[in-house]
């Protein structure tokens, strides 16, 4: 039932739809935050909001879009919330909370605009008391109003399973007393990481990618980018929030170049740079520069900087592999991730040759996390081919092919494998 508001709005084809859809996209989280901030009952807020959107669909086409659509929606939703609470016959304490809520909502509706508490909502959705795997789906639902079915297919889960887990997470927010608040200065750094990690997880699989070309997509890049922009706008002084936005803009800017006319996968080295979105790249660079003036380096700024060097290499033809290795060294020190180590070795191969990189790669081979990680096998196959170990390369390609989901990438890998000399 929850979060059907936006779905209902988008499925209606009438004149009020565009306004309603725009309001829905931009306001959904704002309204949920306002309605749930005191009760911490996200599910009830979403149900009430869904009713309000349904009422808007009935009312707006007939009577015209109200001057303050958000205020209209929040007033209807508030009434539903209070009706629902009365039906459940909750105690005096709840009545008090609801009265406070009513006053706040009325004040907000009367004012020039709905106050934006979405930052508090982001922190609640990414709270450490919640299962890390559910944080990104929760944000997509609660802040953007995506329905469980769409989220389920993006995260490769069944709608029933994700619905149940989202419900559990919301119950936990209510029962464990997870605050709807921005953490204070002392607590902020760690909590900020959980928010940014969840936004990044909504974008891709969070693993990064050796060739710096193609994060595993969830088909939600516009939604994830919206979240990243929101986090950066709400925390303009946090360099890592800016770094994440820059990283995602860089990845998004090259999306159109990753497939050719036949739908085949094109690696970074062969992409037509004309197909890159120059405006998005410029924005990424500007955001990253702004982050760097804050003087606090972090994982996402470093990853964005790596993307920056890739773009520069293709645009100018000048490669700065030493800088790339330094960036990966810094990332490795921060994250200890085997994927970072793998990416670093690909840069090492450019300077010291494939054999040297393969020698170092053997120390990574024991890491269980890489056994079913396609980019590891693809990178290994590529380096083995360059080193002339064609038989081993063929076997590594077979592993990469077997692990790949995307048929276009699978075709690409099959062609590489078939191109190896006998």
């Amino acid at each position: 039932m929850a979060a059907t508001g936006r779905a209902a709005v988008t499925s209606q084809g009438n004149a009020a739809r565009d306004t309603a859809e725009m309001v829905a996209r931009d306001s959904y989280g704002r309204l949920v935050a306002l309605l749930a901030v005191r009760t911490r009952d996200v599910a009830a807020a979403e149900d009430a909001l869904a009713d309000a959107f349904a009422a808007a669909l009935a009312d707006w086409p007939a009577n015209g879009v109200p001057a303050k659509p958000e205020a209209w929606l929040v007033t209807v939703a508030r009434r539903r919330l209070i009706d629902a609470a009365r039906r459940r016959q909750t105690g005096d304490a709840a009545e008090g909370t609801l009265r406070l809520l009513a006053e706040e909502v009325d004040a907000a509706a009367a004012g020039p605009g709905i106050p934006d508490r979405r930052l508090a909502l982001l922190f609640a959705c990414a709270h450490p008391a919640l299962d890390p795997a559910i944080r990104a789906p929760l944000m997509l639902q609660v802040v953007l109003g995506l329905d469980a079915k769409r989220i389920a297919s993006a995260f490769l889960m069944s709608p029933a399973a994700i619905g149940k887990r989202l419900g559990r997470a919301k119950a936990r927010i209510r029962e464990a007393g997870i605050p709807f608040a921005v953490p204070d200065r002392a607590e902020l750094p760690g909590r900020l990481d959980t928010v940014l990690d969840a936004v990044y997880a909504a974008f891709g699989d969070g693993w990064g990618d050796p060739a710096g070309t193609d994060a595993a997509r969830r088909g939600l890049s516009a939604e994830a980018l919206y979240l990243a922009r929101l986090a950066a706008a709400l925390m303009p002084d946090e360099p890592e929030a800016l770094g994440l936005l820059a990283l995602m803009l860089h990845a998004e800017a090259r999306r159109g170049a990753r497939r050719n006319g036949e739908g085949d996968y094109v690696p970074l080295a062969d992409q037509e740079t004309d197909l890159w979105d120059a405006a998005m790249i410029a924005e990424a660079e500007a955001v990253l520069r702004r982050a760097s003036t804050r003087g606090a380096i972090g994982r996402y700024q470093l990853e964005a900087a790596v993307q920056s060097t890739h773009v520069e290499r293709r645009l100018t033809g000048r490669a700065n592999w030493v800088a790339v290795i330094q960036l990966y060294d810094a990332l490795q020190a921060l994250t200890g991730s085997p994927v970072v180590a793998l990416n670093r070795l690909l840069a090492v191969a450019e300077i010291d040759g494939a054999e040297a990189a393969l020698g170092e790669m053997d120390t990574l081979a024991g890491d269980r996390r890489l056994v079913d990680y396609q980019p590891y096998w693809a990178a290994r196959a590529e380096l083995l081919a360059r080193a002339g170990a064609h038989g081993e390369s063929r076997r590594a390609y077979a592993m990469a092919i077997g692990l790949e989901q995307d048929p276009a990438v699978r075709r690409f890998l099959l062609r590489r494998q078939a191109g190896l000399p006998e």
Binding site: L156, G402, E404
Partner: protein, 121 residues
């Protein structure tokens, strides 16, 4: 826990229309998939079936069994093979199903294999 991946595809509409080279490439994709499963230590069994028209069905007609020609289900997509895998949970089973080459021209159904309830101590 164990899951079976049941691979359904339209054999007349897809498989029989491929050239020999395409069929060899498709076979290589399945081999690669099985190898990846094996390397991850999660492959229990992999079987490919003979074409659907070689299937026979047996049911009781009146007082004796009767044998029918062809597969039981009369649908374009027919069961063409199966993998049994050992995974931690449904999510992991779905992740492997998503890598299965059948996806794209066919459908992969995943089913958890029934386990007898643990005997009381």
């Amino acid at each position: 826990m164990r899951y079976i991946l049941l691979l359904y595809q339209d054999e007349t509409g897809f498989w029989f229309r491929l050239s020999d080279a395409e069929r060899a490439a498709e076979g290589a994709r399945y081999e690669a998939f099985a190898r990846a499963l094996g390397e991850a230590g999660q492959l229990v069994a992999a079987e490919r079936f003979e074409p659907y028209y070689t299937a026979r069905t047996v049911r009781r007609a009146g007082d004796r069994p009767a044998v029918g020609e062809g597969a039981y289900a009369d649908t374009p997509e027919q069961l063409g093979g199966a993998f049994i895998i050992e995974v931690a949970d449904e999510e992991e089973a779905l992740a492997w199903a998503a890598r299965c080459p059948t996806i794209g021209h066919g459908v992969v159904e995943i089913r958890r294999l029934w386990q007898p309830p643990a005997a009381p101590p």
